[in-house]
């Protein structure tokens, strides 16, 4: 798929299911990140924690929808709402 080609976004689950038939998933090479050590100085810890959260979010995303998640029709269906979903559930993960 060329970068300039516009990706078609499914409008509902049925469409996503149909589109998923031609989707070829690439498994993520990421591994689940580890939380930062708690004995870091406060400033460093805060920074490391934010970094950990971002890494976890990315790992989480790729493990559900694949490394090529931007081509996964199910992700495309949920993409506009994904950040909010992550915010809602991240406390159970982190």
């Amino acid at each position: 798929m060329s970068e300039t080609q516009q990706i078609k976004r499914p409008r509902n689950e049925e469409e996503a299911k149909e589109m998923a038939k031609s989707f070829r998933r690439t498994e993520t090479t990421l591994t689940e990140p580890l939380p930062p050590p708690e004995d870091l100085p406060p400033e460093e810890y805060k920074k490391a924690e934010a970094e950990y959260e971002q890494k976890m979010k990315q790992y989480f995303l790729e493990s559900i929808y694949g490394a090529n998640y931007k081509e996964n029709p199910y992700y495309l269906l949920r993409e506009p709402y994904w950040d909010n979903e992550w915010e809602a559930i991240k406390d159970l993960i982190l």
Partner: protein
Amino acid sequence: MVLEARGNPRLQDRQDRQVIGEFGNLGRELGMNTLGKQTSVLTSKSFREVVLWILSFLMEFLERSAFGFEIWGYPAGSKEAEERVRQAATQRIGEHRNVVLVPQWPDSAGFGGFNYQRIEPSMAGAEAARVIVEYFSHVIKRYILGQTLTSEAANTGLGSNLGEIHLATFQQIVRYDARNLEESITTDLVRPLLEHNFPEFAEEDFRFVIKTEDENVSERLELLERAYRMGLAIKAEEIRKLVGISPPGPEDEVVQLPGQGEEPQTAVPFSYARAKGIQYSLPEGLPENPEEGTRVTIKGKTYAYIPNAAGKLQWQVVDETKSGPSQLKEPSASSKKEEKHAGPQQKASKLPQVKFGPTTPQRFIQFRDSLPTDKRAYLSQYTAEEIEDKIKAGAKIFQTEDGTTGYMLVPIPDRPGEYDLCNVFRTPQGPKGGGQAAVIEAIRQGATTLDCIGDGLAKIYHKFGFKVCKVVPWDDQYAPEGWDYEKNDRPPIYFMRYVGDTRNPEEIKKRAESGYYGVFRKEDFPVGYEEHPK
């Protein structure tokens, strides 16, 4: 056996009171005066002879009267004709048939001679015979069984309870016979065997016992379950005894209800030594006044002084490759010095150990509802009253000491020890990893099913061994209060069930960290997916 027994007081008594009386009735009904004499003779005979006499009498009655009469005519005055007719009748009929030879005189026209006439009995006679047979059938049954309703149907009247009364009578007879048999076997078999083979026990009161009454097992189990739900500690041994099963050995493959922990099954406490008689003994070398958590290794086995399934402190063999919940307790400072004998300790884990305890609905809701609306919207928002109702029906709620993390377990009907997991939450102020610790602890306690909103939560639970069994589309009528469609749209709803074969927290944790349950691929679980479509 009972019928052949001699000197059995029950039989003697029943013969005196019932059989003679019944024969008296028979005599009156048939109008036979000689039966009174017969019964006096019968009292000295065995019951089998009595029954056979009744049957032979009935058969004779049927043969003589129930099949009619035959009249054979012959010319009067002719000896030759009479002899020929007698021979013919004798050849024609069977024994006991009623035959009458009648000489025939010539009439006014000079006719008269050989003829044959059959007089059929009336149906009233046959009916009388049937009634008599039925009557005796009941007499015989009552004589042997004491009643009739355990072997045949009869009108008893709605709610008369007569069937149960008959059954009780029958059971009394069974018990009576069993007691007599117990006495006989105890006296004539057990005691001689004991005296000849185990003379040292000859003075002991061994008895042969026939179990004639079963405890109402299901009723007792129901009571035990109620008591268990009320928080009473119940001996596993007593439950095993009640249902008639033995405890599993250390090598046995076991089927175990989820949520019951692994301790009780592995609590084969110690190997016992046979010293004076049979007794259980602890190995030598254990401290006399141990503190909770103390561990000692003796001859390659590690013993820990930890609570048993009933919460009572006792020495238990610890399998270091496994770890039950009570083994997760931190040992006291004084016992730490002995840990060097106890083998490797738990591996370091990125998932923290967070302790949960029972809580109140009010406190649970207070913290759960402190979550921002967007986060709370992903939880079933039960009210305190709803939670209280669920608790009355067996639900449990747990929370960390600081209240920031919690979960609820709702019992699954007809699946004791299994729960539906709901309301798992951690506030942003809660311990890191507290949410996952809650899931692990819930699984340990029997969490077996759950439902959740969206791919992200399904992915979390998948990591711990919950497998998607059904995916349904969002339905607005079930939308949580405060659901923001602009921000969240309509994600799918996942129904999941726990497929892991362990309830051991360390093992659950290890599996989650190692990706034991594989990758959660969203495309494998589209809306409409069902594990076993029916």
